[in-house]
Subunit: 329 residues, 2 copies
């Protein structure tokens, strides 16, 4: 009898500890890097009402779709899009096989380090750079090239890996949404095959939940098996009015929450908030020249629409306790 | 003490019952509509080895991707693709608004009920019919049209709903794979927006796991909000060499198992089986003129490739105990 009593007592204590831990977990802050205020409250209020079974706004789990822009929303996009840094490194790497680049723009200026001149050609120059450096190989080869580059490539200002230039508050937000049954997607103007090799370890977003711009690929049967070749031809531009198209094509459901930072995200936020029931739209406003960057350029229309429509705007400087994750030594 | 003893006895009995139920569940047949034989064994052996943590062939859950063709693989495709029956019904419905169709082919022949003549124009005629009946509306409007049609449209031979002309053994296979951690996708030559309104209730496959052919859509901001318009222009043909392209675009991972029935699936099966590690490819061979249809036409190359590569071939007549689900009165 003595032993049984001891056993039951241990069980009882175990029970109390367990219940206590659950209570702590439930009460703990899901967004610790967000300062208290109306932005954080708006996020938590939205998630609470669409997940509370007794709420008139509750949304079935399968319809809890949240879409996130990448550049400027999940990681820094300044001084250049990371995919452009990748392209510039590729030009340097491939230059020995392209002696004609020494005199051919925009490559000549890139090789001389004169980016201002290289990008004078605008979108056309950028497209030319992307096509010259990111097509002409198989999809598997490209994946390996990206995966190897992203392992060591560093941001010119902070000297941290690009994959560490992600916003800690947004990582917490992704996790918070997933813990509440959301499926989180990236919907970016960036290249879909540039993002997929690293979004799972960095953001917890698997390849099948990444939507982006793409070039055409072609199935070819070779002697040692089939490949998909990356062709130098634009297939789809997942930006601006392209974002709702990309969402419809890949997801086939309208998101109930969308997160962006620029005019490139305007239509995604319009499309998301035009659906029935509870909706949430958020813009990250870059207001923090000390810890990140401060700029409105390219976000003017989106910020204006946020004002008109009552969308949530993150004031990075005020709303975020920290910008990047702590450095791992 | 008496009470405590009764309580413990009840607990003990409960435990035994629970363990027994688990044992039954584990032993019960996951594919009851499949006859025992080498086809069923091949499926179960594959699933066992990729899910057994002690197996050298074990595959992480996130990589357990299985892709299924739809027409002829998950439901009957004879005497016509279901989407064509839909198009023909749409022509009859829209005819009063298109008096010119009375004399214009292929519409005139469709309206006269002469399908042979209507389809003499081949793919061009079919494309014309699809464009005339399935574009020019918003994506939301099209979804409603499809959802309403599929609720009542019936197969001309069996007089059953098309959604009941699905293969019971394949429904069990989909469920068996999902119970073993697989993500199941449809990868069909059919229209992606024709399938998405009903694949979740019928197959348990959500819209975001449906890949198919598509027309172009365009974002438009209207006075009462944004819409996506369906344009009469082909965007992507998810058939033959297009299937690996569609898989790469939508999923971004190579499947480890693929299921088809025709030459349109050949490249999907080649692409799937060319990956590293354990792979599985299966063709449904239509050999059952009594219970379904018997034909090789359009599957000659795929069946030949199955022989050469040792892919699993379902002999519908011998391998399936039943073809369709029991009728619900």
């Amino acid at each position: 009898m003595r032993l049984k009593q001891i056993f039951l007592t241990i069980c009882f204590i175990g029970c109390i500890i367990f219940v206590h831990q659950v209570a702590i977990a439930q009460k703990s802050d899901p967004l610790p890097s967000w300062n208290d205020g109306k932005t954080k409250t708006a996020i938590i209020d939205f998630v609470s009402k669409v997940t509370d079974a007794t709420s008139p706004d509750v949304v079935p789990v399968e319809e809890r779709i949240a879409t996130f822009d990448n550049d400027g929303t999940l990681w820094s996009e300044k001084p250049l899009y990371v995919q452009l840094f990748f392209a510039l490194d590729r030009i340097k790497e491939l230059a020995p096989q392209h002696l004609e680049w020494k005199t051919q723009e925009p490559f000549a200026s890139v090789l001389k380090g004169d980016l201002k001149k290289a990008f004078e050609g605008g979108d056309k120059a950028i497209l030319e750079i992307v096509m010259a450096t990111q097509t002409g190989m198989t999809t598997e080869e490209f994946k390996t090239i990206v995966a190897n580059w992203i392992k060591t490539a560093k941001h010119p200002k902070t000297n941290r890996l690009y994959t560490e230039m992600v916003y800690q508050p947004m990582l917490e937000l992704l996790g918070y949404l997933r813990n509440n049954g959301f499926k989180t997607y990236i919907v970016s103007g960036g290249g879909i095959e540039f993002m997929r090799p690293w979004t799972e370890p960095v953001y917890g977003i698997p390849p099948e939940q990444v939507v982006g711009s793409s070039i055409e690929t072609k199935f070819e049967m070779r002697a040692n098996g089939p490949v998909l070749m990356r062709l130098p031809k634009v297939n789809f531009v997942d930006d601006k009015a392209g974002k709702p198209v990309g969402i419809n094509s890949h997801i086939g459901r309208r998101p109930i929450a969308a997160f962006g930072n620029s005019d490139g995200d305007l239509q995604m936020l319009q499309w998301t908030t035009a659906g029935n029931g509870a909706r949430f739209a958020l813009l990250v406003h870059h207001t923090d020249a000390d810890r990140e960057y401060a700029y409105n350029h390219g976000a003017e229309k989106a910020l204006e629409a946020a004002k008109v429509n009552g969308w949530t705007v993150v004031n990075m400087k005020e709303d975020w306790k920290t910008v990047y994750p702590p450095e791992t030594k």
